[in-house]
């Protein structure tokens, strides 16, 4: 896949990203006005919901940014290798299921090892879930776009099965699990509901940035993603293996996000644990041009949009779901701007880009 530019970030990219966000908000405002809402009031409610108070910012926006950043880093990893992982949602649930199961069985463990075990369980769950499409691609050539998508539905059904079956709470009334043991819960930052997973997501962003920029593996990843044929012909890069590893690593990060959500926010498994993090994270990674450092910013931005949307629904009566239109516009504007930049950088014969 050569569609996604992972080049060094220039001023033009920042301008395009800013334009994309503004275009998304402008279209939202326009649509709301046409629909008869008070657009200015709605946007004010959106802002207030996301940034209105220190508590809203840390305990709603930043908490929501944690899974978006973590999954977004995984998406960047996969996309850089040309592996189009659309299945982060399923990998998130696979991680959450295994983390919950682990967290229910750690009675008597001290805090630190218990938390580590739960998070590792999430990594393993997400990794296993993405192992399937990686293997199907390598062994049978099944497009990972299709297989990761299909596995989202399997994971959702599996979650539903778990919360109504093996992992259902002891009384067997609600479709949810019991709470994991207290020792397995990520500590909160005092005065907020922000858990230490935020620090972990920042660390992972730094780690991935280092991997991408400073290691041979990062180079192989970039070569595989930007020009697989050249990488293969060079004879030094096993293109299929690099892409498979990136896909599995991507699943591990999504699974980790699932376990952090259980260990730091919900303390239990729910059927609707993710409000579509796996898909929003694609927008997060794309707007950041797959740069781990920028993913931290875009993750917070999209988290702000979504928590703000909840505020908008509460205070201005605008359905929160319309925020997906904003996200879609942002993705489309970034894609079009990138395509335009690529055309200018490497002029191709008329029609060859069609």
């Amino acid at each position: 896949m050569t569609m996604l530019s992972v080049t060094r970030r220039g001023l033009g990219d920042w301008v395009a990203s800013l334009a994309a966000v503004l275009a998304g908000l402008a279209i939202l405002a326009l649509g709301l006005s046409v629909a008869g809402y008070d657009a200015a009031g709605a946007l004010a409610a959106l802002w207030h919901g996301a940034f209105g108070s220190w508590y809203a910012f840390t305990s709603a926006t930043l908490v929501r940014a944690i899974p978006l950043i973590t999954i977004g880093l995984g998406i960047a990893l996969a996309f850089r290798a040309g592996a189009l992982n659309i299945g982060a949602e399923g990998q998130f649930y696979a991680g959450a299921i295994l983390a919950t199961w682990t967290g229910l069985h750690l009675q008597g463990w001290p805090r630190f090892p218990a938390v580590v075990m739960v998070l590792l369980a999430g990594v393993v769950g997400g990794g296993l879930w993405s192992l399937v499409p990686a293997w199907l691609k390598r062994r049978y050539g099944v497009l990972e776009v299709i297989s990761t998508l299909m596995l989202n539905f399997v994971a959702e059904a599996l979650t539903s099965l778990m919360v109504q079956g093996p992992l259902q709470e002891a009384r067997g009334v609600y479709p949810q699990s019991d709470s994991i043991v207290a020792a397995a819960r990520l500590p909160l930052i005092p005065g907020t509901r922000l858990h230490w997973g935020f620090a972990l997501s920042l660390f992972l962003a730094a780690l991935l940035w280092f991997l991408f920029r400073r290691t041979l593996w990062g180079f192989q990843l970039r070569a595989t993603g930007t020009n697989p044929r050249a990488a293969r012909v060079s004879g030094r890069i096993n293109v299929g293996a690099v892409a498979a590893a990136a896909l599995i690593g991507s699943g591990m990060l999504a699974g980790l996000a699932g376990s952090m959500e259980v260990s730091g926010v919900s303390y239990a498994l729910f059927q609707s644990l993710s409000p579509g993090y796996g898909f929003t994270a694609i927008a997060v990674a794309l707007l950041a041009r797959l740069d781990p450092r920028v993913i931290v910013l875009t993750g917070v931005l999209f988290a702000a949009l979504e928590t703000g949307a909840a505020g908008m629904q509460r205070d201005a009566g605008v359905p929160a779901v319309v925020v997906y239109v904003v996200e879609a516009v942002i993705i489309l504007v970034v894609l079009v701007a990138d395509a335009g930049a690529r055309r200018r950088a490497a002029p191709v014969p008329e029609g060859a880009a069609a």
Binding site: T2, A35, Y140, F153, A157, G165, V323, Y324, E327, R343
Partner: protein
């Protein structure tokens, strides 16, 4: 009604009817997507087109009845895919990501519009639906009978299979369209306006996606709910691959998916206690398995998703 007459035949008949009912929206969407992919484009916005079609069908159906709903649904799917064609074919955006974004936009738009029009309470919307039309004589044959009592859109869906086959494999335009998907550069040299063919294919796929959503609303459920397509558009894309980019292949794959999904009704009727979620997973898991087995023998259109 069908279960009133006891016996295995009746059970098999109602099972087969359920399979056909489940597969028909998938088939309609997959036939459209087959044409799209043959032109060299993969459209993950299909899910969005189905969702937009479903809401448009609900709105149109409540205003002027099911036929108007059908027309409005095709228009909604087409309009949404005009956006997709614009950004991918004419502005060079990546097809897979743009398709995902278009589906995201459709979720937001339909959710917002639905609440705007019908209120946030989510009051059950009850729509006039197509009534079942029996095929004369044949509909009284056991097993076959229950299958041949379907609403009109279902028959239209099945009729589209040979029509699209004729177009793709027996017409000059179909040949040019396939050339656009297999060897766009050669096709362009030969004077085929590749971009226009792909645009037309995407618009057709959007209209079919809209009709598929309408079939769900106007021929089956009789109401609209947010995200009611529940991934059927993505399943239709898998069906296209499973059907080896061939209309009759898509027909077989859609029926297979319908049969697998309908298995749960058979098991429920038989009284075996297996959690229903296993039957939710089964079609997807087996589709993956089938993809692994099929893919080795038949290749995708060479220029698929290559931009």
């Amino acid at each position: 009604m069908m279960l009133a007459e006891p016996g295995v035949l009746a059970l098999v008949g109602s099972f087969a009817a359920a399979a056909v009912r489940i597969s028909s929206p998938l088939l309609i969407a997959a036939i459209g997507e087959t044409v799209v992919e043959r032109s060299g484009v993969i459209n993950l916005g299909l899910e969005g087109a189905m969702l937009a079609g479903a809401l448009a069908a609900a709105i149109g159906g409540s205003i002027e009845g099911p036929w108007f709903g059908l027309v409005l649904a095709a228009g909604a799917g087409l309009a949404l895919m005009a956006l997709f064609a614009g950004v991918t074919i004419w502005l060079g955006a990546d097809q897979i990501i743009a398709g995902t974004a278009v589906t995201l936009a459709a979720i937001g738009l339909t959710g917002g519009l639905y609440r705007l029009i019908y209120g946030a309470g989510g009051v059950g919307l009850s729509l006039p639906t197509f009534s079942a039309v029996s095929v004369p004589v044949l509909s009284r044959v056991p097993v076959l009978g229950p299958i041949l009592q379907q609403p009109v859109p279902v028959y239209l869906g099945f009729l589209s299979v040979p029509l699209v086959w004729l177009f793709l494999f027996r017409s000059r335009f179909g040949l040019a369209l396939r050339a656009a998907g297999e060897a766009p550069d050669a096709a362009r040299t030969a004077g085929v306006p590749v971009r226009w063919y792909r645009t037309a294919a995407i618009l057709f796929g959007g209209a079919m996606g809209g009709l598929a959503g309408a079939t769900l609303v106007l021929a089956q459920v009789g109401t609209f709910a947010e995200r009611m397509t529940a991934g059927r558009g993505f399943v239709a894309i898998a069906i296209v691959v499973l059907g080896r980019w061939h209309p009759f292949g898509a027909l077989a794959a859609a029926l297979l998916f319908g049969l697998l999904t309908a298995l749960q009704f058979l098991f429920q009727a038989s009284g075996i206690a297996i959690p229903y979620q296993w039957f939710l997973m089964l079609p997807y898991a087996l589709t993956l398995l089938a993809l692994a087995l099929v893919r080795r023998r038949v290749a995708a259109p060479a220029a698929l998703a290559k931009g």
